[in-house]
Amino acid sequence: MVTFNRADACAGTETVLLNIGPQHPSTHGVTHILVELSGETVVAAKPILGYLHRGIEKLAEYRTWQQDLVYTDRLDYVSQIGNEWAYCRAVERLTAIEVPERAEWIRTLFCELNRITSHIMWYAGVTMDIGTMGTPFIYAFKARERIYDFFEAVTGARMMYNYFRFGGVRCDVAPGLLEDIHDYLGGEFLELMDDLDALLLGNEIVQSRMKGIGAFTTAQLVEWGITGPFLRASGLAQDLRKDAPYGAYDKVEFAVPTSTVSDSFARCEVRMAEMREAASICRQVIERMPEGDISVKVPRLLKPEAGEVYVRTESPRGELGIYLVSDGGPKPYRFRVRSPIFYNISALPKMLPGWKLQDALVIFGGIDTSMGEIDR
């Protein structure tokens, strides 16, 4: 555990305030971190949020339950399906809608595909942060483009799918597509993953930049409210897909990748392993997907009974919670998103002090931010 003494770090010198963020070319959108530097050492850090606060929680109160589904895509625009699913699960739990078996499997399939594309965005961000010219990121985008093609074949959109419906999914998967996905994830994708592994984990410069950087204990991370791969890299196998299974997760076999080292490199290893696990889940789902209905009939204008519900799902970034309050009307009374990265990024003031500026960016890259969800 690192102990950091501010007085030692800036003894007799003046500190510099440096803005990392709006508007800055790092690949993390509009994240703004104000860091105080003594030389190249960070002595204090403060994330400044809200540059993308579009007021989704307020707007959702003025739209019907179905219309709000549109906003969930735009919350965390890197793992759209995960958000749709979280919201659908919350509404389904509130209104006691039963989802057909096949729909659950289709949802699991696309959620895991989305997890891969989301981790690819993390990969792009972290490799840019440590200063590559973009080669690993462009290789990783090969896989992303292929998977976006699959999404496009099913949903008609590249990014904003709007695919899930209360009680199922919008449409069935086209014939032949499942085989394509299965073949791709079993062959070409794994070869590409080997390349990506070699470019990130196998690179000695990366190892020297990441090993031992940002080492925190599990107790610290739990206290700071960290969830997701960042926490799992410290050895705590906390994953809602195992702990409180939903969808078809209890019917497929998968491991929760963990590491006991708990540094930035371990976080990379965990995320890379998660991508492989996600591919394996997808292939199992395709092999064992049952036939049947893909959705149930749901009233055009949904009016859940008055009540409230809180549903947590495992998004690629951690524990995503949706809290809904209904007053029996056609619109939600309160729509609240518990964003995993909001909690993760709020721990930065405790994480960054004591590290060099370049290390701070590596640690920050391990969080895998998506400002759309933090600011909502």
């Binding site: 440096l18 690949t27 190249e40 440590i130 200063g131 973009g134 462009i138 290789y139 090969k142 020297s208």
Partner: protein, 324 residues
């Protein structure tokens, strides 16, 4: 124009043409090479395979507004790029292409090049300071610190070659490799140290901390727009050319080629190959951390370079003259 004959004018024109061509073709080549490393095509649609891309960039940069930030130190802001560009261009004057074919065949050509490169850190620090911007300040200071640290191992590694040849004239150094093996074979340690130091000296990946995009926007040239940015970039590519040329001349035999007649073509090919390999590094490697970089210079490269000089000196005593 008494002392200034047509010959000099022609050589000067050649020098300027070389500078401009290096930068233009260097940038074009780099964009192409990195593009292909990234499974892309690079510039493609303007001109044949994008050959007109760089002239277009130049036209645009020349016609861009020249922004001077309000709080910047006006005079230094205007002058500082010269402190980088002029030494970089001037050092080109020491290039020799064949015995007798040179801009100026100086007796202390190597010394001249090093002397010119020592001025560049001043320019970087000035650029960084004059903009009144924290990113440029950090970038400029990083650049200055890096250049100063890596000059020492570079000089020490070159010293081995100079001791062995007994001259600082670049022609002599290249000619010394005409009959015997190249210095890369005779002094491999010196070669490795020299190449690493040159890579750091010209701010190329994995030593490109001064312009680290992820933390410092564009490093020391963040505030420069239009042709001032163009000038800094020109200086960088000239330094790249000079660094590659030095490695080729000092360690890779210059214009000599075993079994084949000596020709400037070999020198040109070796230089281009070295330049391309720095682009390869740039496309592949992430960058090091600042303190690792400094440690590498002061704790590893300098002691090893000193040991290398000892080794060369003792071998010169022991081995026959033909070898050392």
């Amino acid at each position: 124009m008494s002392g200034l004959g047509w010959n000099t004018v022609l050589w000067l024109a050649g020098l300027f043409a070389l500078m401009a061509l290096t930068a233009l073709i260097g940038v074009y080549w780099e964009r192409k090479v990195i593009g292909h490393f990234q499974a892309r095509r690079g510039p493609l649609h303007h001109g044949w395979h994008g050959l007109l891309q760089l002239p277009a960039d130049m036209v645009k940069m020349i016609s861009k507004e020249d922004v001077v930030p309000t709080k910047a130190d006006r005079m230094l802001f205007q002058v500082a790029p010269m402190f980088v560009a002029v030494p970089a261009f001037t050092s080109l004057a020491a290039m020799t292409f064949m015995p007798g074919v040179a801009f100026v065949d100086m007796r202390h050509g190597l010394f001249f090049v090093f002397a010119m490169q020592t001025v560049m850190p001043v320019g970087f620090a000035l650029i960084g300071w004059s903009c009144d911007n924290k990113y440029t300040l950090l970038g400029g200071l990083r650049a200055a610190a890096q250049l100063i640290s890596y000059e020492i191992p570079m000089l020490l590694a070159a010293m081995g070659v100079v001791m062995s040849v007994g001259s600082m004239r670049l022609t002599d150094i290249a000619q010394a490799q005409a009959s015997g093996p190249w210095f890369i074979v005779r002094q491999p340690i010196g070669f490795v140290i020299f190449s690493l130091a040159v890579l750091a000296e010209i701010n190329r990946t994995p030593f490109d901390m001064p312009e680290a995009e992820s933390e410092l926007v564009a490093g020391y040239h963040t505030e420069y727009s239009g042709m001032k940015f163009g000038l800094v970039q020109l200086a960088e590519y000239t330094a790249l050319l000079m660094g590659s040329y030095l490695i080729a001349t000092l360690f890779l035999g210059g214009w000599n080629m075993p079994l084949l007649p000596a020709s400037p073509v070999w020198l040109f090919l070796k230089t281009v190959l070295l330049m391309t390999s720095t682009m390869w590094f740039r496309a592949t490697f992430p960058r090091l951390r600042v303190d690792t970089l400094m440690e590498m210079s002061w704790k590893i490269l300098i002691p090893v370079a000193l040991a290398n000089i000892m080794l060369v000196a003792s071998l010169m005593l022991v081995l026959p003259k033909r070898w050392f």
